[in-house]
Amino acid sequence: MKVVYADNNASTRVAPEVTETMMPYFGEYYGNPSSMHSFGGQVAKKIDVARQQVADILGADPSEIVFTSCGTESDNAAILGVLRAHPHKRHIVTSRVEHPAVYNLCKYLAQNGYHVTELGVDSQGMLNLNELSDAVREDTAIVSIMYANNETGVIFPIEEIGVIVKQKGSLLHTDAVQAVGKLPLNLAMSTIDLLTLSGHKLHAPKGIGALFIRKGTTCTPFIIGGHQEKNRRGGTENVPAIIGLGKACELAKKYLPDEHTFVKQARDKLESEIMKRAPDARVNGSQINRLPNTTNISFEFVEGEAILLLMNEKGICASSGSACTSGSLEPSHVLRAMGVPFTAVHGSIRLSLSRYNTMEEVDYIIEQIPPIIKRLREISPYGRK
C-alpha cells in the first residue's frame, strides 16, 4: 500500500541528494579526519565544507558550529555546559511546553539542587513576556526556550525573548529543531547564544545534530575526550552523517521559500478542509505564529490512538497527543499546558508536512479522515446523536 507520510515533525525522508553525498564516506573514504595523513585529511576537509553549509543556513560563523549525535545531545550539551561554566548560578528558566530533551533535563536538574522556573503558556500556546522578564534573575545561568513547538508548531518570539535575557545578563539557548529549514534564521544579527538543530528533521539522517555556540560564550564540553570539534565535543566524528547534514542544510536553504508557499498552502488546505468536513473539531495553538507545515487538530468524543490505527490502515502516518499513544499513559504535556480540555487532548492528531508531500496526498488525507472520525463516533457513547 502507498504510504502517505504526514509525520515530518517526528522524522523526515532523507533527501536522495543527501544519501548520494554520504555514500562514499561509508565506503572508500574511511580515514579518520584527525589523522596526519592526507587520506584522513581529505575527510577533514569535507567536514569543513559541511560546517560551512550548516553555518550558512543559520547565518553563523563555521567556528560556532559543533557537531553532536542528535538534538537531545545538543540540548544537554548547551544547558549542562553553561551550568558547569557558571557554577555559582543555580537558576534556569524554561517553558512548560519544551521537548522532553529540555523538559525532562530541567526536571532532573530541579531534583538535583537547581532552581527551575517553568513558564506557562496561554490557550494559544504563547508565552507572557512580562512573566519571562520577571522570571530571569541575577543568578539565572540560562534561559532555554524552544524556537517552535513540535506538537502545535507554535513559534515563540525568540528574538524578543533574547533582548529580555540580554538585558538581565543571562544566556539564551533555543531548541530550534523544528525551526531550522522551515523559518529563515540569521544568527549574525541575533540575541541567541546557543541553538540546537537536528539532522533528521530536515531531510538528513538520524544520529546527527549540531549545536551553535556563539563566539565568546563560555560553555564547558559535555562529552569529554579527544580534541575533536576544537575540544568542544570529544569522540571521532560521524563523518557520513556530518557530510549528509551539511548537504541537507544546503538543500534546506535552497528550498526554504517552498515552505512558505507550497508547504503552507498544502497545510492550510488540509486544515481548513478537515475542519469543514469533520464537526466538533478544534485547531490547537495559535494559527498566526505557527510553522508553515504543522496542524494539530482535536476531534471531540473519539480517541487518538483509534484514529491513528484507522489512518494507518489507509497508509497515512501521523501522531497524536492522546495518552494511549504516549507509552506512558500521559496525555500531551504541551496541550495540557495550553489548557486544552482533557477530552480534546485524547482526540488530538498532529499532521506535519514537508516539501516531499504532494497536493494529491493532501487531498487523499482530506478524503480519508472525516469518515474515520464519523466511524469512531458511531461507536462512541458520547457526542451528538
Binding site: A306, L309, E313, T343, S380, Y382
Partner: protein, 284 residues
C-alpha cells in the same frame, strides 16, 4: 508501533455488537471522557436469566474497542451467574492477549459487566471500587480500586498498577501513595499468611509498638493522602488508645476536617494499627 494480536485488530477493525439495545434489562457504564476511555454495556436478559443480547458503545483506543467487542461475544448465551465469572484475564485471553500497558482495557470490560449485572439485580456492588479516596487525580482512580488490582493480579510495581488501572500514568505525583498501597496490601497478605499458620497470633500491641506503628502509618499512609489536597497532619501524642493529632495546611481551616479525622485518619489507623484506637484533634 502497536503490538496487537490479529484477534485484537480483527475486533477493532470489525467490532461486533456495536450499538444500543432498546429497553435493555441491564446497563453497565464505566469510565469517562476525561479518563480517555469509557464503555457502556447493554444487556438483554430472558426469564431464565440468560443473556440473549449484548451491545456496547466505547470511547477509547484500539484495544478498548476490541475488549468491549470481545466481551459482548463472550457473554452472549451465558447466564448471569456464568457471565459473572468472567475475569479481565479471560477477556485478554479471548483476544490472544493484550499488550501489558493495555491491560486496563480488559479491566474496564470486566467492570462494565459487573456494573451491568449489579444493575440487573438492582443491588449496589458490595465494595464498589469507585468509592474511597481518589489517589490518582489524572484518571480519577481510588485507593480501593488500586488495592483491588494489586491483590487480584499480584502487582508489585507502580508501573504494573498503571498498566492495569491507569493510576499513576499522568502527572505521577501520586506515585508515593500508590507505592504505599502496594506495600500495605502485601504487608497485610504476609501477616494473614503468618496468622493462618499460627506463627504470629494476633496479640495485643505493646505501647511502644503501638506508638511506632501509629507514627509510621501517619507518615507513610495518611500524610500523603492529605498532602495531595494541600493539607497536612502532625502526630502530637499517643496515650493508651487515644491518638492526638493536629491538622496543618488547608486541613486546618477546612470545615470537612472532622469528617477527614474519622473517615481517613481514624479509619486508616484502626485498619493498620489497632481497632481500639480513638483519634482526637488537638487545636492550637
Amino acid at each position: 508501533m502497536w503490538d496487537y494480536t490479529e484477534k485484537v485488530k480483527d475486533h477493532f477493525f470489525h467490532p461486533r455488537n456495536v450499538g444500543d439495545i432498546e429497553n435493555p434489562d441491564a446497563v453497565g457504564e464505566v469510565g469517562s471522557l476525561a479518563c480517555g476511555d469509557a464503555l457502556k454495556l447493554m444487556l438483554k436478559v430472558d426469564k431464565s436469566k440468560r443473556i440473549v443480547d449484548a451491545k456496547f458503545k466505547t470511547f477509547g483506543c484500539g484495544s478498548a474497542i476490541a475488549s468491549a467487542s470481545a466481551l459482548t461475544e463472550m457473554v452472549r448465551g451465558k447466564t448471569l451467574d456464568e457471565a459473572a465469572m468472567i475475569t479481565d484475564n479471560d477477556i485478554a485471553d479471548y483476544l490472544d492477549g493484550l499488550p501489558e500497558q493495555k491491560m486496563h482495557c480488559s479491566v474496564m470490560g470486566r467492570e462494565a459487566l459487573e456494573a451491568a449485572i449489579a444493575n440487573y439485580k438492582g443491588v449496589k456492588i458490595e465494595k464498589p471500587v469507585d468509592e474511597g479516596i481518589i489517589v490518582c487525580k489524572c484518571f480519577g482512580v481510588t485507593d480501593n480500586k488500586i488495592a483491588h488490582e494489586v491483590r487480584e493480579h499480584k502487582l508489585t510495581t507502580i508501573e504494573q498498577v498503571t498498566n492495569f488501572c491507569k493510576a499513576g500514568g499522568g502527572c505521577r505525583s501520586c506515585h508515593p501513595q500508590i507505592q504505599a498501597i502496594i506495600d500495605e496490601v502485601w504487608q497485610k497478605e504476609k501477616e494473614k499468611a503468618l496468622v493462618g499458620k499460627g506463627a504470629m497470633p494476633v496479640k495485643k500491641l505493646t505501647n511502644i509498638q503501638k506508638i511506632m506503628m501509629t507514627q509510621e502509618t501517619v507518615e507513610r499512609v495518611i500524610r500523603p493522602i492529605l498532602q495531595a489536597d494541600g493539607g497536612d497532619i502532625e502526630l502530637i501524642d499517643v496515650d493508651g488508645d487515644r491518638v492526638m493529632v493536629s491538622f496543618r495546611g488547608s486541613c486546618a481551616a477546612c470545615s470537612g476536617s472532622k469528617v477527614t479525622l474519622k473517615s481517613t485518619v481514624e479509619a486508616k489507623l484502626r485498619e493498620l494499627v489497632a481497632d481500639s484506637l480513638i483519634v482526637e484533634e488537638i487545636t492550637a
